[in-house]
């Protein structure tokens, strides 16, 4: 996806160089898995089967469509009603629990109250109300990645636009943009979000994404501006003017593709930062609304249940997820930066 922004001539070269860094390559692979997990969250962990035929009725993808007739059913209740002699069958998700599901068929038979540690039913254990940690992790990945990409997408757009205009037109416009950039840079994003969340009372990810997007564009803007200032003195920009290119064409066709490399690197690091911000906020209880899963929210659960000193799985797995994802984005960013460095050979 990101490759589409890069200029065609550099794509092959950048990839060849990126490929040589096995650590970054591995990180990219890990991120690929993470995207797959977030995209297939309902196939990996759901309270409804992927497909089933029960009592003469066949359902395809009830885990996604959530049909009314199966409203009260879970994989566990269906399992109990399954009559294989009559041709019933069921394709279960990898982990047969949804992210909100507090009750499972087996929980009644368990000797103690949750949280339960990892076992064959719950590979990563459950939280204090018996919700499956794996299910909440894969569904929580959506929140983290959404915040990361939307917030960063927003600020790349803002930064790119302002940086281009300031660098290309210079003069008063440049002065205004530069001052606004400097002022915006002094905003502490975290406290700003806390203040906004305190004011707006909407407990969704939207204000978080908006605030990150509206306060963090400064680095991209400064990068792009500097790059445009450099590029616009190059002869090919003058040459494209000499063939009758309009300002818009020069900006879109000649400056953006050439300035995109460093922006991509900054964006990759930025996604890691945004994911951390979201986790921190959810940890503090300012993120997703309570029952919804997110990695930070999982950690905050763990924090509340430190009364169960043995329940290590509540901290370790979400912590690992955050750590691995942020590290992977940073490694990919570093790999990209090195691969784009023109001082390195082909």
């Amino acid at each position: 996806m990101t490759g589409a922004f890069l200029a065609p001539s550099s794509r092959g070269r950048v990839w060849r160089r990126f490929r040589k860094r096995w650590l970054s390559l591995g990180a990219l692979g890990l991120l690929g898995l993470l995207f797959a997990a977030a995209a297939l969250a309902d196939e990996l962990a759901s309270d409804k089967p992927i497909a089933a035929r029960v009592g003469g009725h066949t359902w395809w993808l009830p885990n996604l469509t959530r049909p009314l007739e199966l409203r009260a059913d879970t994989v566990q209740t269906l399992r109990a009603r399954l009559n294989r002699d009559q041709g019933d069958w069921m394709v279960e998700p990898l982990v047969p629990f949804g992210p909100y599901q507090t009750y499972s068929g087996q929980s009644a038979e368990r000797p103690s109250a949750p949280p339960w540690g990892p076992d064959s039913d719950h590979p990563l254990g459950t939280d204090e109300v018996g919700r499956d940690v794996f299910a909440r992790l894969v569904h929580g990945a959506r929140a983290s990645l959404t915040v990361g990409f939307v917030a960063v997408g927003l600020y790349v757009l803002i930064g790119l636009l302002l940086g281009l205009l300031a660098g290309y037109y210079g003069g008063v416009l440049d002065a205004v943009v530069s001052r606004v950039t400097e002022i915006t840079m002094t905003f502490p994003t975290m406290f700003f979000i806390l203040a906004v969340m305190g004011l707006v009372h909407v407990k969704t990810l939207v204000p978080i994404m908006l605030v990150i997007g509206l306060t963090r564009w400064t680095d991209v803007c400064r990068l792009v501006r500097a790059e445009v200032l450099r590029l616009k003195t190059l002869e090919f920009v003058q040459a494209s003017r000499a063939i009758g290119a309009s300002d818009l064409r020069i900006l879109a066709r000649h400056l953006v593709p050439n300035a995109m490399g460093p922006v991509l690197v900054a964006a990759t690091f930025g996604i890691a930062g945004a994911i951390l911000i979201e986790s921190s906020l959810s940890f503090l209880g300012f993120g997703v609304p309570p029952p919804a899963p997110s990695w930070g929210e999982l950690l905050s659960q763990a924090n509340r249940y430190l009364t169960h000193p043995g329940a290590w799985w509540l901290t370790v797995y979400p912590g690992l997820a955050i750590f691995a994802t942020v590290t992977a984005f940073n490694l990919v960013g570093e790999g990209l930066r090195d691969a784009l460095d023109p001082r390195q050979g082909a």
Binding site: E235, F236, S240, I243, G244
Partner: protein, 326 residues
């Protein structure tokens, strides 16, 4: 056979830079014509305002420069009176320009085919396929071998000479009437230089192009120009046919320039270097700008800036004490 009206008549062109150290009159009252089907050479030392004259014609003077006086009569119509949009439509279509540095004049991130097509898409509304076919065609015309394959190459895959051919293909894409070539061969090595100049001459003949060839190589001028315009410190000091100017230069500066060229018929005499340096444009002394370096300077030269006047038929010079032909 020459048409009655020049393609481009530059009249009293002044282009200034507003800098902290004051105004720099980089081009000061330049006046000369460029004719269809002929090559006009623009020569002079580095910094005398050749490129700026060309950029003024394109109306692409870089900040903080400004065209502050004069007329640029294109088929009799003043380019300076045209709107930005009208000017944009002329650039690359009727008036094309080739720059000195073929290594940086092409966008590194697009194929050369893309960049040639771009011109056609701007000015001819050509579709993708059409533009591409034309690009291959043009590449073949400017002598890029294996054009069908080369069209998908990126600039870094080409040699300097080939890139300059690509620049020429771009410039010629819309069949312009005037081609401005700003030192098109300076960055190339000698054999490639000759090839590019031959190509330029051939294209010019085939298409009856008016060419404004900027160079500081008098050898190049002798080979390829019909008329020559000599500039010194922002002023046009001599205008004439190449033959006239080379055999009987009127301005002492032109004469000195000719004496400083190695080879040719003058080759056996000692090679001269013009003493002194070009004056600082922001602090010009009164009178003739060449005075301090001139061996023919007389007292009027110190007070009166000589106007550009006919010295012989079709031969103008700005000098109070022109060189007398032997």
């Amino acid at each position: 056979m020459s048409p009655a009206e020049p393609l481009l008549r530059i009249q009293g062109l002044c282009t200034r830079f507003e800098t902290d150290e004051g105004e720099v009159p980089a081009v000061d009252g330049a006046t000369f014509d460029v004719w269809a089907g002929r090559t006009t050479g623009l020569v002079g030392e580095s910094g005398c305002g050749k490129s700026l004259t060309a950029l003024s014609v394109m109306r692409l003077v870089p900040e903080p420069g400004r065209i502050c006086a004069g007329k640029l009569l294109w088929h009799g119509e003043d380019l300076l009176a045209k709107s930005a949009e009208e000017m944009r439509k002329l650039r690359g279509d009727r008036i094309a320009m080739v720059f000195q540095e073929p290594m940086t004049s092409l966008n590194p991130v697009f194929t050369i085919g893309d960049q040639i097509s771009e011109v056609l898409r701007y000015h001819r509304d050509a579709g993708r396929g059409d533009a591409r076919r034309r690009a291959v065609d043009l590449l073949a015309q400017v002598g890029v071998p294996d054009a069908g394959r080369r069209v998908d190459d990126f600039p870094h895959q080409l040699s300097g000479g080939q890139r300059q051919r690509v620049m020429l293909a771009m410039a010629l894409a819309c069949d312009p009437e005037l081609l401005i070539a700003d030192e098109p061969t300076t960055a190339l090595d000698a054999t490639v230089q000759v090839q590019i100049l031959e190509l330029l001459a051939r294209l010019q003949r085939e298409r009856q192009l008016g060419v404004l060839l900027i160079t500081h190589d008098l050898g190049v001028v002798a080979e390829s120009c019909d008329e020559v315009v000599v500039m010194y410190a922002g002023r046009v000091v001599e205008v004439g046919s190449a033959a006239e100017l080379f055999s009987t230069p009127a301005h002492p500066y032109t004469a000195a320039l000719l004496r400083s060229v190695p080879g040719r018929e003058r080759g056996r005499g000692p090679l001269e270097v013009i003493p002194g340096a070009v004056p600082n444009l922001s602090r010009l002394p009164p009178g003739c700008r060449f005075r301090a370096r001139c061996d023919r300077a007389i007292s009027v030269c110190e007070t009166v800036d000589p106007p550009l006047e006919p010295k012989r038929a079709g031969h103008l010079a700005a000098c109070h004490a022109p060189v007398i032909p032997p």
